[in-house]
Symmetry: D2
Subunit: 222 residues, 4 copies
């Protein structure tokens, strides 16, 4: 079963009530098409989304800390208790020290949080795969935030990342983390060997979110 | 009216259900003694505490961002929407760049979040007072997290911080941000010219939280 | 006596032999026009420039450390021993935590290094002036690195920064840290109340560095 | 041929004239015992040590930058021009973002600087080996800076790191980066499969530096 991860970032359209509404649409589409849906929200929205929907809620980041004196850092245990099922780690907008990626990943694993570790290039995808996360999301910088989609750009970086990650550990799944605009891109990402996608503005800022999600889900299960 | 700010940090005793319970005790004691109570919690606990109690909920940190592509950073607008009334800034466990202190403080002000900016020494207290926050919390490093209380240590740093901050702007209130263990310390802090206290383990890790809060509130209104 | 501070950044034209050559030109022009010349170079170039010229060499940054286990951080004592006479602190390309600005500034002062602390806006200029550096350089973001010069843009931010800094401490000198392209800009900066300029590409990337420096020095002493 | 890397950190005993003196002793001992000697110094000391001795001089850190507007960051091209032959990357006292480790490592490689990337645990050693540096230095946290030496502590972490790194790429050499106090520790490190050591206070703070270096070099070639 493919997975669609929607990252709401700090978009106005993905905060508070809008995060809950989006999660409800995702829940509906996911059920209809048998596609796993994950929404990654601001930490303050985890509790609401987890309580008002049944889809998996992820945090967008965690810090490499355990219970203690860590004012203002995001505590994995706290987001877990609020209802989070996993977290993004090392997103391109929140790069982390390698030691912290390792530690945060280990703490998450210990308390049962799933991990999507992001990586920009094949070498870094290999490197973070050494930490045995559930997912590695490959985000080629040339595809991030621009208008270029993975179907148009040279897609070798994605297929090479899949190969590199699987060489480290076959169980680690690869997500296509950039360049996804529509169903065609999703189909291409799956064709390139990824097992899902990580998408943000393409869904969160869409006028008709359900339509976009349906298109993507259809492309995934085809 | 004096103010008691309780920072739950990432303490196990101050997360999730325990954050809500603590906030309820604070609400009760605050009402009884006419002391303003503020609880600063992990971002994922803001929504619950804001919805289940009437005391002011603060975030422990915000990032200097507005709506946009800022995955994993704490968005002031999001915590506001979740119910936060203010935030700590530059806590000793989360020091910030001066530019970010200024920007975060300005963004908070624009959307109506109160600000407690922390400072370790008199010169830094003066500096952050230039950003016109509601509060500056002075946290002398020699008093942080140790067993030394402000009543026993030389308290000049606190009174000098009050003087320095008021010289920059009379409206900025000063909190005593370290060395507070009991009612005597609160009385001393008020005597030194502060208008409230910022406390963490002294309350959060206390066996009888209500008793400690009552003692502190009594000392504040005496 | 006005001061011209040239920051070579990490420009190819300002590293190694080229740093030494530039410093020699600055020495010559400075002597001719009785203008103080300071060159801020990469740490690895301090020793050479200090030994081959007589102008003041500054480091572009120091870390807030003393002798000890601080691998890879820039030790103020080491650059001092290599011949540095001062340092930039909190440059717009290297923003620092407020605690580190304070500590680095204090360490520099203790060992006799002069300090130029950079600030982007009036409020931050006031704040860093509280740390009593020799200089505050005001770098309005709208003037940095662009084609807009301080003579064309609204210059109130510079004159207001001068006023704000002098209000904190009259002895702190203000430099105009952005928007300086030629002699006219220097004259304007002085007219606005600054006591010198901090310039980078305008000099370092100029084809005829001596000509530009002469023009700036002339404008300063006129 | 084994390699001894001496990191002078920010130790008073390893700065300026003392860095040059230490490098001269290393040069002498290295020649006598046919052991490669590398000294990693503060950036401002690279030029002198490179010009006054023939041993390889490394920087203690580089930033992931090329020529450009990067005030105050350590430019790989600049330290190369000053005489550096390589650099430490991600030392335990200067942890870096994974993207910066990759980029700094790639830039260094492009301009002919050798790289020693540090790692605290086996998983991170594997990860950084994916970036194909000349060396990975394993620094088990339980051995850093303490009195415990690698001969006394359970040494599995070192031999497992060697195995893990070689599995990624056989050409990457492993250094024992902590727990080295004397000749016995060096012999143990070599026995565990490393091809050299990274040492700091054990040499830099020794009263008789030559004696310690001779003992270590002897142990290495035995």
């Amino acid at each position: 079963m493919g997975v669609i991860v929607v990252n709401t970032k700090a978009y106005e359209e993905g905060v508070g009530d809008r995060a809950v509404e989006l999660a409800k649409i995702m829940e509906k589409v996911g059920k209809e098409y048998d596609v796993e849906m994950i929404i990654a929200v601001q930490p303050c929205d985890i509790y609401r989304v987890a309580n008002e929907t049944k889809i998996k809620v992820f945090c967008q980041h965690i810090d490499a800390i355990k219970y203690g004196s860590h004012t203002g850092w995001i505590l994995p245990h706290a987001i877990k208790e609020a209802g989070a099922r996993g977290t993004l780690i090392n997103h391109s907008e929140h790069r982390m020290k390698i030691e912290d990626i390792f530690s945060a990943s280990r703490i998450a694993s210990q308390i049962g949080l799933e991990r999507i570790i992001c990586a920009s290039v094949v070498e870094i995808a290999s490197a973070v795969a050494c930490f045995m996360p559930e997912y590695v999301a490959i985000e080629p910088p040339e595809l991030i935030g621009g208008d270029i989609s993975v179907t148009k750009a040279k897609p070798e970086v994605v297929s090479r990342a899949v190969e590199a990650v699987k060489k480290v550990n076959e169980k680690v799944k690869v997500l296509c983390g950039a360049g996804i605009k529509d169903g065609k891109d999703v189909a291409k990402a799956i064709e390139l060997g990824t097992e899902g996608i990580l998408v943000a503005s393409g869904v969160v800022k869409a006028k008709d979110k359900e339509k976009v999600l349906v298109e993507m889900a259809e492309a995934m299960v085809r």
